[in-house]
């Protein structure tokens, strides 16, 4: 059974089915949404059970498409994409559950979410350059309407900024893809990886084009500024998907395209890429420290965490020892998943706080831990996960990235200062919002209800699971990275 194709297109088909249903009430729409994302989740579990292959892509599904230009419908998986596919299906399912209270134009909302899921799964599983680009772009449109239609106060401007920024950002990728095609005569990404078609100046130009696109998407300093604006205005589930899934398009592309398809150029530009990673990590941490809006603060920590991913990949390109290369890539990939889980939880929790208080300013709260212990402790746990506490999801990933950095390119280790800064900003936020004397204004704030617990608790469990026993995840990543890095 072509499970990959089914998983990819099931959401959009469910969305289309919803559009033609006679009854498009909110209740029906959310049922369709939870049903479809739940089914996709189960299918991705089956895909996981089928496993990956130590030598290349597994579970490849291929149909001839535009023969004349060597473009085909190709989907497949390896240890880089499978963890992200699992992350995607989990976050979309939880977002669907969380969103079940949305009544405003629910059917349109659900259709958009389902379209986004198709785009995200397609982006991670596509093995054809053209197909990848189509999925990559479709996700943009979906997110634009998500922000513009269901966001907060200043949503139109934020949505436009997001759209133009990332649209203009992705055009260079198209040029790079065309370049790769011209160099090889096919759009088969496997061919591009096995025998990188470009060399010399052409490879460098293609790399620069790709880096530009992915840097916007990751986002890396100084093209990160759309992120806080988009996050602040996006609806909660939109933020979760944006940070949890769509930022990974950038880091996934960084490995899948930039690192693998223009390896020589990547290694030559390695120091520059590493510098961007280090600056992003530090800059994101300090910029987050300056925020008083919780959602914006978490958005900036994404810049920090994604900076570590860039570092891990750059160090892998620069290091001479294959072990260090593998450790850097392992850590970078694991960090993508950890960030999705932890930041997803944090955005859900801030959204739940905002649903109750209609505010995100730290100064508006105080002493909430005694009032809403579930919300409070879930936030504390997620915050400590985000600042890299051992036993929680970010620690193994960041440990590997820093270990590889110190042994591959020692100067990059200055970025480790950021772990103190993130500690400071999260502790400050916890102290301001949840500790201290209780603000009487929120004396009757309700704690998490069943639906909300159903959304947050799985993420917390996964966060702990990745933290104490990352083996189930890191082993499949390692299988692929040993091949790539070795």
């Amino acid at each position: 059974m072509p499970l990959l194709t089914i998983a990819t297109f099931l959401p959009i088909l469910a969305g289309l089915a919803l559009m033609v249903l006679p009854d498009r009430s909110a209740r029906i729409a959310h049922r369709v949404s939870i049903g479809a994302t739940g089914a996709v989740f189960l299918i991705t579990l089956a895909i996981w059970a089928r496993g990956i292959s130590p030598d290349g892509f597994a579970q490849v599904e291929e149909i001839a498409w535009i023969r004349a230009i060597g473009a085909a419908y190709r989907l497949g998986l390896d240890g880089l994409s499978l963890p992200l596919v699992l992350l995607t299906s989990v976050l979309f399912l939880l977002s669907a559950i969380y969103s079940a209270r949305i009544g405003e134009r629910a059917a349109s909302y659900v259709v958009l979410m389902l379209m986004l899921e198709t785009a995200a799964l397609g982006t991670f599983m596509a093995l054809d350059g053209l197909l990848f680009y189509v999925f990559f772009e479709v996700s943009l449109v979906g997110m634009y309407f998500m922000i513009a239609g269901w966001g907060y106060e200043d949503r139109q401007r934020a949505a436009l900024m997001f759209f133009l920024y990332t649209l203009l950002g992705s055009l260079p990728l198209l040029l790079a893809i065309i370049g790769l095609y011209l160099g090889s005569g096919t759009f088969d990404m496997r061919a591009w990886i096995d025998a990188p078609p470009l060399t010399g100046i052409a490879a460098m130009l293609a790399l620069i084009a790709m880096l530009f696109t992915f840097a916007v998407k990751i986002p890396a300093f100084p093209v990160h500024t759309w992120l806080p604006a988009a996050h602040v205005q996006a609806p909660t589930a939109g933020s979760v998907i944006l940070a949890g899934v769509m930022l990974k398009f950038g880091t996934y592309g960084l490995v899948r395209f930039a690192y693998l398809m223009t390896p020589e150029a990547f290694a030559r530009a390695g120091q520059v890429i590493l510098a961007f990673g280090v600056v992003s990590a530090l800059y994101g941490a300090f910029a987050a420290l300056a925020q008083t809006d919780l959602k914006k603060m978490i958005a900036y920590t994404s810049v920090n965490h994604m900076g570590y991913v860039v570092m891990g990949v750059a160090v892998a390109a620069l290091a001479s020892d294959p072990r260090t290369r593998t450790i850097g890539l392992d850590g970078a990939t694991l960090q993508m998943v950890s960030h999705g889980l932890v930041t997803g939880a944090l955005f859900f929790l801030v959204g739940m706080l905002q649903d109750r208080a209609h505010s995100r300013g730290m100064a508006d709260f105080g002493g909430l831990l005694g009032r809403v212990p579930w919300l409070g402790w879930a936030f504390v746990l997620s915050a400590f996960a985000s600042l890299g506490l051992p036993g929680l999801a970010h620690f193994p990933a960041e440990f590997q990235i820093f270990l590889a950095t110190l042994n591959g390119m020692p100067w990059g280790i200055v970025a480790i200062l950021a772990i103190v800064v993130t500690a400071a900003l999260y502790l400050r936020a916890i102290a301001a919002v949840f500790l201290g004397e209780a603000n009487p204004k929120w004396a009757d704030m309700p704690d998490l209800d069943r639906r909300e617990k159903l959304v947050v608790v799985p993420l917390l469990i996964l966060t702990v699971l990745v933290g104490i026993a990352p083996g189930w995840l890191i082993d499949m990543i390692h299988t692929t990275m040993t091949r790539i890095g070795g």
Partner: protein, 632 residues
């Protein structure tokens, strides 16, 4: 193996049980700590003869979690388990009426499990993980009464101080793993040369954070905002011990340069923190400063190259200082304060507790035959034999003298004054404290066999050593009893009571610059968004809008033109084929013009219409793409 599992899993399982059941937390905690103690005794009993017990659990590729229970680590595990059990007995009484007992005991058990993991760790990742976890537990426990004034700040400060210093441990671990190619601690200790020196200095940095050594001395005194059992367990015997434990375990690797730095940091701390203790106006803060001072002495021993002496003092200090804190907690229970003024006469009101407190105090001052007498002598002997004896010996002697002085001061305050308030019975608190006092008094007799078990017997020190030690101890006690601290310290009193903050301390040196940098980043971002991006986006949007408008106008014109052509065609065809094409074409023209107008309406319409349109557009594009094989 079973003992090893018991040591770690009993407290962990008890913690989970406490949180899950949410009832009888004290009983579950005691059961967990008791089983953990049995496990530690089992490990310790097996340590002398047999090979070290090891275990490896999968974690990261090629970097498994390793546990190691050899003579040294089994001894440390026993120390932790013993103090933990006693403190929990005490806490069962101390916290009996707190509504948040579940959270308290659950967190304490989590801490104990993490601390045991730290002492039993066999690889750097496990050590580092446990090292950070105990910091987290400490944050939760200092912040236990989180609604009280000043408590969140104290918890935040403690975590940030120690985490800053932890960077040293992170980098040292990366370095050692990189050089040795394995994360196993014992294997990395073969590192030599420059990497060993750098790693040694980095480890010292980490140790200064956890063990509150100069320049990280002041978080510990401020950490006293938590419940007293927390101070007794974490901030005297276990968490703060982590720094010294780290250096004891890595001692075989440390080269001369690193040893000298360690010895000097320890020597300076033992004096500076001793002065701080003497100037303190609060009993718990006095004990906290004393803790930093005593760990300074241990670092002196490490710097002198005799880690066993440091270990002995660590063990003696664990029992003594926990006992002192527990005593302070009883007085706090009576007077609702730990301020020295408020505690005047508190000891007289409870002669039994006071006797235990005094015994522990005299033990810390180094009176024979109690535990610290032997360990302090070992440290002085080590300092005397060290190549840096010129520095280390005077500092160590001064630190020992100060110990006597501040303990005498505390005893004097507690004893002099009216015992006017009635007291209630505190059986659990007295039991927990009593056990530790007995250990404080008698542990010294176990030191010889322990040295033998560790395979590092210390030579019998020359008579001059105990004579010197006793002289400074008694001298300090006498001075502290007779003279007020302001007289004794003179001009040093002010800086000492301020914690010897240099140039405004961490707040001015680190926190404010960091916040300023953060504000600068924020301004850069505002600039990027405000000027570059929004300018660009707004410009782009305007250009795009103009483009769309132009395209649309042209489209409309085109439609109209087509319409006109069609119209004239129509006129033409009317003449030629009036009946057949006529209606159709006119219909087409009308529909095309209407479509143009409708397109204009849609463009300015609502989001969901645009969306539907976009969907149709996407569907069309996908359809065209899917159909590509047909027309290519």
């Amino acid at each position: 193996m079973i003992w090893l599992a018991l040591v770690l899993l009993a407290p962990l399982g008890a913690a989970l049980a406490v949180f899950a059941l949410r009832r009888a937390p004290a009983a579950i905690a005691l059961a967990g700590a008791g089983l953990g103690l049995i496990g530690a005794l089992g490990l310790f009993a097996g340590a002398p003869g047999g090979a070290a017990v090891t275990a490896a659990l999968p974690f990261l590729p090629d970097l498994p979690i390793r546990l190691l229970a050899g003579p040294l680590t089994a001894t440390l595990a026993l120390v932790v388990a013993t103090v933990a059990a006693m403190v929990l007995v005490y806490a069962a009484g101390y916290m009996a009426h707190d509504p948040e007992r579940v959270r308290f005991f659950g967190t304490m058990l989590m801490f104990i499990a993490a601390m045991e993991l730290l002492v039993l760790s066999g690889d750097w990742i496990t050590l580092l993980a446990a090292w950070e976890m105990i910091g987290f537990a400490s944050y939760l426990l200092i912040g236990f009464w989180h609604t009280r004034d000043g408590v969140p700040g104290a918890a935040t400060r403690a975590f940030l101080y120690t985490r800053s210093a932890d960077l040293g441990l992170y980098i040292a671990a990366f370095l050692l793993i990189g050089v040795a190619g394995t994360s196993e601690i014992s294997a990395t200790l073969a590192t030599t040369g420059t990497p060993a020196l750098i790693a040694g200095l980095l480890l010292l940095g980490a140790a200064t954070g956890k063990s509150a050594q100069v320049p990280m001395q002041d978080w510990l005194m401020r950490a006293m905002a938590g419940p007293t059992p927390v101070s007794a367990l974490l901030h005297s015997a276990t968490l703060v011990a982590a720094g010294a434990i780290l250096l004891i375990r890595t001692a075989p690797m440390l080269p001369g340069g690193a040893l000298l730095a360690i010895g000097l940091v320890g020597g300076i701390t033992t004096v500076a923190a001793g002065l701080m203790a003497l100037a303190a106006s609060d009993l718990k803060r006095l004990l906290a400063a004393s803790t930093a001072s005593q760990y300074g002495l241990m670092l002196v021993a490490l710097g002198a190259g005799v880690p066993v002496a440091a270990l002995l003092h660590l063990i003696a200090h664990a029992a003594i200082k926990s006992a002192l804190f527990l005593g302070a907690g009883v007085f706090q229970h009576d007077r609702d304060s730990t301020d020295l003024d408020a505690l005047a006469g508190a000891g007289r009101a409870r002669p039994g507790i006071f006797a235990g407190f005094a015994l522990a105090a005299l033990a810390l001052a180094g009176l024979p035959p109690m535990a610290a007498f032997f360990s302090k002598d070992a440290i002085l002997a080590a300092a005397l034999d060290s190549p840096a004896a010129v520095w280390l010996l005077p500092l160590a002697l001064l630190g020992s003298g100060l110990t006597g002085a501040y303990m005498a001061r505390a005893l004097k305050v507690l004893w002099s004054g009216a015992a006017d308030r009635p007291t209630d019975a505190v059986p659990l608190m007295a039991t927990g404290m009593g056990g530790l006092v007995v250990l404080a008094a008698t542990l010294g007799f176990g030191f010889k066999p322990l040295e033998a078990m560790l395979g590092a017997p210390l030579p019998e020190p020359a008579w001059i050593i105990p004579a010197m030690g006793l002289a400074v101890g008694l001298g300090g006690l006498a001075l502290g009893w007779v003279l007020a601290p302001t007289r004794l310290l003179g001009p040093l009193f002010g800086p000492a009571s301020g914690g010897f903050e240099i140039a405004g301390g961490m707040q001015a040196l680190v926190a404010r610059p960091a916040l300023a940098l953060a504000a600068a980043c924020e301004r850069i971002d505002q600039f990027l968004i405000g000027t570059v991006v929004l300018g660009g986006v707004a410009g782009g949007a305007r250009a795009l809008a103009a483009m769309v408008e132009a395209v649309e106008t042209r489209l409309l014109e085109a439609v109209r033109a087509i319409g006109r052509i069609n119209l004239s065609l129509g006129r033409f065809s009317r003449r030629t084929d009036r009946d057949t094409i006529d209606g159709a074409i006119f219909g087409l023209v009308d529909r095309t013009i209407a479509l143009g107008a409708r397109a204009r309406r849609l463009q300015s319409g609502f989001i969901h219409r645009e969306m539907a349109l976009t969907f149709a557009g996407i569907a069309l594009v996908i359809g065209l793409l899917l159909a590509a094989p047909i027309y290519f």
